[in-house]
Symmetry: C2
Subunit: 87 residues, 2 copies
């Protein structure tokens, strides 16, 4: 499946969340990663992220489509993921 993951986590936990996500997905911008991933790998991501976030305060939202062609992507302004260094 193809996923987009956006996160809103406390600054002290940002590095840990990004460290997990960048092992599996592509960095898009400040608070978003995306990429192709299997259901099994996504469950790995969920478990690892669950270990580092504060579930009362932090939010991680996963949008998934089974067929990547269903998801149209447009960039307004700068396409950061392709030009900036990954965190």
């Amino acid at each position: 499946m193809h996923v987009v993951i956006v996160y809103d986590v406390g600054i002290e936990r940002l590095d840990a969340v990004r460290h997990v996500l960048k092992k599996y997905l592509t960095w898009i911008q400040n608070s978003a990663f995306e990429g192709e991933i299997t259901a099994g790998k996504l469950e790995e991501v969920r478990l690892l992220v669950s270990q580092v976030i504060d579930k009362e305060k932090d939010s991680v939202v996963v949008y998934a489509v089974n067929n990547p062609s269903w998801l149209e992507k447009k960039v307004w302004g700068r396409e950061k993921g392709s030009t900036d260094n990954v965190l």
Copy 2:
């Protein structure tokens, strides 16, 4: 169509971007809005956002699916959009 919009913009332009997006979509978390929108309204959003972002520095990414049932959403941790005040 159903869209998810994520943005990474300079702090001095954040309020202006959010001001546009919240007129059309639902706030999900710090840097993301989502909702149903027509192609015409999305073009309005694009024009308004283009007026307030710095296109050399800021990035706004729009993910769109034609059928909302194609997009599966999961929340890990806190579901901010439903419980917190919109910005």
